[in-house]
């Protein structure tokens, strides 16, 4: 063997037979669904930031699989390209140059940004169009573009600022976790393309086990705060990160520390919705009852006579 030895772990990206259908939907925007009796095993994609080399093969694979193209852009002073998610680019590598205050080392933190597939999806909660956003029992949150109305409420509901509305067709787009590939037992395109296996995909429990091994390894190499990013504020996510500094997720291009659906969105989509309808209904009912009880307020013949007297019409 050469001096340079780089042993990959056994590829944990395994094909899992699922087959997503309407019967697997556990949440549906602006509608109630009866949860299916049989749930699919929860899946997860793990992005090991410590193993990412920033090659952007995942971005290319994403564009390729989803048949999207992005225009040639300009350099904005970092490797980020495009600088932010777009309706066509569902995942973007975010490069951060961070000086570790303890070691004085420059660390190049590269986080693959994109939909986290929250167990409690804020996009789905905010969406007003029935069925435009669904969550399958395996955890994947997917958009049904035919039903999307392009209002952008999903972006307001999202704690990670992920969906983007297309200016071309006025519909919202984001990472699907390659639901169409997963449905036929294939892993997401980005995971398949990743040359260092920084992105792995599989059943969530197995992926968490794999993450534990990675965290142990990082801790043994001096990253005392290495850990898994599976935020409980959104009941966990189906895209997780292994972070070298899990105590400071914000250093990874502003990854939120405690993401949760904004309380403003909760209020808007909760109490306001029901109290609002009740208030409008109450006003209408009060009007009706008042009319029935009081009867119409009519002008009397005396009123007309008084007006005639006042104007001198009557002598």
């Amino acid at each position: 063997m050469a001096n340079f030895e780089f042993v990959l772990p056994p590829a944990p990206t395994k094909d899992i037979k699922v087959g997503l259908s309407d019967a697997d939907i556990i949440k549906r925007s602006a509608s109630e669904v009866t949860p299916p009796a049989k749930k699919l095993p929860e899946v997860a994609k793990l992005i090991d930031v410590s193993k990412c080399i920033g090659c952007k093969a995942c971005q290319v694979a994403c564009l390729e699989w989803n048949d999207k193209r992005i225009p040639v852009g300009v350099n904005v002073g970092s490797y980020d390209f495009p600088p932010d998610l777009t309706p066509n680019m569902f995942t973007v590598m975010k490069y951060t140059e961070w000086v570790n205050p303890e070691t004085k080392n420059l660390e190049w933190l590269i986080r693959k940004d994109g939909c986290m597939h929250c167990q409690d999806p804020g996009c789905l909660k905010a969406c007003p169009a029935p069925g435009a956003i669904v969550q399958y029992s395996n955890g994947i949150v997917d958009f049904d573009h035919d039903k999307c109305i392009g209002c952008g409420y999903c972006i307001k509901g999202c704690p990670f600022n992920i969906p983007r509305v297309s200016e071309v067709d006025s519909r919202a787009y984001k990472c699907t976790l390659c639901s169409d590939r997963v449905a036929v037992g294939q892993g997401p395109a980005c995971a398949r393309a990743c040359p260092t296996h920084a992105i792995v995909f599989g059943p969530k429990d197995e992926i968490k086990q794999h993450a534990e091994g990675r965290i142990k390894d990082l801790k043994s190499r001096g990253y005392a705060n290495a850990g898994l990013y599976d935020p409980p504020g959104v009941d966990g996510t189906h895209v997780m990160y292994v972070l070298q500094h899990a105590d400071k997720p914000e250093i990874y291009a502003n990854l939120p520390k405690n993401p949760r659906i904004s309380p403003i969105v909760d209020l808007w989509k909760g109490a306001t919705k029901y109290l609002g309808l009740a208030a409008m209904g109450a006003f209408a009912v009060i009007g009706l009852v008042h009319h029935v009880v009081t009867g119409p307020n009519r002008v009397s013949p005396e009123d007309e006579e008084n007006a005639e007297k006042l104007t001198g019409s009557k002598q």
């Binding site: 972006i155 306001t272 409008m280 002008v299 008084n306």
Partner: protein, 222 residues
């Protein structure tokens, strides 16, 4: 000097019965453009407010059309209402008798108008509706523009937009309630709707509901 509540075109015509010109053709057209806009806004807004009302989107050609057209109707309403505001604001200034009128709301609701003070062109209830509409439409246009992502997507932070959309829905619910009061009052007080359709009311109506205004018009004529 004319009284604060006499608007252009207000005129009394003696006869049997007496008729009183209350709204000019311009004011009526202005009012109905505003009214139609408000109803369309309420329908399209409610469609996106509660899932049980999503079916209302069919009136506008589906969800995409509803989303696209709602803010434009809002722009029409804003400018149309601005016209009404300029026409009506002076006659809606708060006067001493308005406090008394409002304090006797129980008599108002029971239709015992002989116990109420004589009021000008607008009573305190109408003034409350007018100023509520003015305030709420301002709140709605500002919060609405903030979440009109098609054109103003980059003008506010996500947190501001979340707050804007909450305020927008609360203001919308309130304005619909105010609108219900406005429409109900026009129906309950018989003879009122003619003011906005034909432009005139009978002398008896003016005597019963806006006696101070009628007296001012009669004095002005002499």
């Amino acid at each position: 000097m004319t009284a604060y509540d006499i608007e252009s075109g207000d005129q009394v015509h003696p006869g049997k019965p007496v008729t009183v010109d209350r709204y000019t053709a311009g004011a009526r057209i202005n009012h109905w453009i505003t009214a139609i806009s408000l109803v369309l806004l309420a329908l399209s807004g409610l469609a996106l407010f509660h899932p049980s009302l999503y079916f209302l989107t069919v009136l506008f050609g589906g969800g995409q059309w509803t989303r696209a057209i709602h803010p434009w109707i809002g722009v029409v309403l804003f400018f149309s209402f601005a016209g009404l505001f300029l026409r009506f604001w002076h006659a809606n200034l708060w006067k001493a008798e308005d406090g008394t009128w409002l304090a006797r709301l129980r008599d108002v609701m029971a239709g015992r108008e002989e116990r109420l003070p004589e009021v000008g062109k607008y009573n305190a209830g109408q003034k409350v509706v007018f100023w509520s509409m003015s305030l709420l439409i301002t709140v709605l246009i500002v919060s609405g523009v903030l979440v009109w992502d098609e054109y103003f997507g980059s003008y506010a932070s996500m947190e501001t937009k979340r707050l804007a959309v909450l305020i927008h829905s609360l203001a919308a619910v309130t304005i619909i309630c105010v609108w219900i009061v406005h429409v109900y009052a026009a129906i309950w007080v018989r003879g009122t709707i003619g003011a906005m359709t034909k432009g005139r009311v009978t002398g008896g109506w003016a005597w019963r509901h806006h006696r101070k205004w009628l007296r001012e018009l009669v004095v002005g004529k002499k």
